[in-house]
């Protein structure tokens, strides 16, 4: 079982490596940020597998923290879309 | 956990320190020098952590605590450095 879980975790690492290629490639900033998000989700899945494999359930807290802070960095990214950096990407009335 | 299984992280940490040093010296953009500085820092932490494990008695909490302290100090330095980079650009300064 442990071997299987680690095998799955290694497979997830490989998918992360693929997403890294898209960060490098772009072309849009949205592509790069999206790939970072896939890496985040994949990393969280790896942590869940490692928690079972190592029977160390405190690792789940690391997964929660990562999921929370990934959400915060998405807000920071959404802010960075406009040059001003403090607005709302949905706000079409205030072009800058 | 055997020493062999941690060996990749030891090599990885040494490589990170070298990479970070190279970036710190050659990178013309100040923002990216801050990133290089952080890579050096995490490389040093990783080296410390990877070397502190032993086969029998489990992990050593003293390096762990010192690394957590180091992570917080690195964040403080990063926050101040980024504030300086932004202030430098605000005053119209060219990067050196």
């Amino acid at each position: 079982m442990t071997g299987w879980l680690l095998l799955m975790a290694t497979g997830l690492l490989a998918t992360i490596a693929v997403a890294l290629w898209r960060i490098a490639r772009g072309p849009e900033r949205a592509d790069r940020m999206m790939s970072a998000q896939l890496i985040g989700t994949g990393g969280i899945a790896i942590i869940l597998l490692l928690a079972v494999a190592g029977e160390d359930w405190a690792m789940l807290d690391v997964a929660i923290v990562l999921a929370l802070l990934a959400a915060v960095s998405i807000i920071a990214f959404a802010k960075s879309v406009r040059r001003v950096g403090t607005g709302d990407p949905e706000d079409d009335d205030h072009h800058d | 956990m055997t020493a062999t299984e941690w060996l990749p992280f030891t090599v990885c940490a040494a490589a990170l320190i070298g990479l970070g040093l190279y970036g710190l010296v050659t990178q013309p953009l100040l923002l990216r020098r801050v990133i290089a500085f952080n890579v050096i820092g995490s490389g040093i932490f990783l080296l410390f952590g990877a070397l502190s494990g032993s086969e029998s008695a489990g992990t050593d909490p003293v390096p762990q605590a010192m690394i957590i302290t180091g992570i917080v100090v690195a964040l403080s330095a990063t926050a101040l450095a980024l504030a300086l980079v932004v202030a430098h650009a605000r005053e119209g300064g060219r990067d050196p």
Binding site: L6, L20 | F9, A14, V62, T69
Partner: protein, 310 residues
């Protein structure tokens, strides 16, 4: 299988670091660094250091990435002139020097004698420290000096960032004013996330007493709650001369110093008598978490710049 996983992870970490350092675009470097922090957190889990993984996930991957994104946005708006790349010779020399450092480190490591760690000593004295988490015991009892000075470093960084304020902006609200559509997706996000972060942050501070967690990890998540509330326009950032904010920032180091001075009465500076250790440590954890949350959030908000945003 374990070795294969660790090897692949190490390779990916080095590749990501190289991309963040050597690539051309600044934004790409920032995104790579965010991914890098996550991968380093995974490495800490493999090194059986869950406490460090938590700190790295919250601080290294999370907050540092947010600071970089915010700084990148500011720099783009300021349109700083592009610097010229360094001389070819410097690149070659730096490459040779960096390579020598890496190889030298590896050579030195291979010569290291195997020494037993301090885990046995820590385990032996754990009962008198007032906590069951050995890392918390080291941070708040065995090596209290480190932790006290660390909180002062955080404070110094905040003061340093504030000194960069222009005269006409002082003392205003921290950072710039955020403007968000009241019923947009971003505002919705800002309603859901802070309560969850508050609960998770408080939980992490609490469990730091007996399992991975603690004031630094929990405080960072609490800071995230505040940062989200401000960035999504639900709360204004506090003024830099706000009394409550300043009390929150100072309560951690102040309480810590008071404990240290009280220790002087019964023995030595920062000595915590075993009988009082548990309540004292819990109080230190709680006050530190509040101070860390406030300081980190203020560092992300930045020095007052409200004049520009209108």
């Amino acid at each position: 299988m374990s070795l294969a996983f660790n090897t692949l992870l190490s390779l990916i970490i080095v590749a990501v670091a190289a991309a963040a350092i050597l690539g051309r675009q600044a934004f790409m470097a920032v995104v790579f660094f965010i991914a890098y922090g996550l991968l380093i957190a995974l490495a800490w889990l493999r090194l059986e250091a869950t406490n460090v993984a938590l700190a790295e996930a919250a601080i290294g991957a999370g907050l540092t990435g947010i600071l970089l994104l915010v700084a990148w946005t500011r720099l783009r708006a300021l349109e700083a002139p592009a610097p010229s790349p360094p001389h070819r010779l410097l690149q070659v020399l730096a490459g040779a020097g960096a390579g020598a450092v890496t190889l030298g480190l590896l050579a030195a490591i291979s010569q290291l004698p195997a020494v037993p760690g301090l885990q046995r000593d820590v385990a032996e004295h754990l009962p008198v420290t007032g906590t069951d988490n050995p890392v918390t015991a080291v941070l708040l009892n065995f090596r209290t000096w480190d932790t006290l000075l660390e909180t002062l470093v955080l404070l110094a960084a905040l003061v340093g960032a504030w000194t960069l304020t222009r005269d006409e902006d002082w003392p205003g609200r921290a950072g710039r004013r955020h403007r968000v559509l009241p019923d947009g997706v971003l505002a919705q996000f800002g309603r859901v996330l802070p309560p969850v972060a508050l609960v998770v942050g408080a939980y992490l501070v609490w469990v730091g007493g007996y399992q991975p967690g603690g004031a630094f990890q929990g405080g960072t998540v609490l800071a995230a709650a505040w940062i989200v509330a401000v960035m999504t326009g639900h709360l204004p950032a506090p003024r830099v001369d706000d009394r409550w904010m300043r009390m929150a920032v100072l309560i951690g180091p102040t309480f810590f110093l008071l404990v240290g001075l009280a220790g002087l009465v019964v023995g030595a500076f920062l000595y915590i008598p075993p009988g009082f250790a548990k309540p004292v440590l819990m109080a230190i954890e709680a006050t530190l978490a509040v101070a860390i949350a406030a300081t980190l959030a203020m560092l992300v908000f930045g020095a007052p710049e409200q004049g520009e945003s209108s």
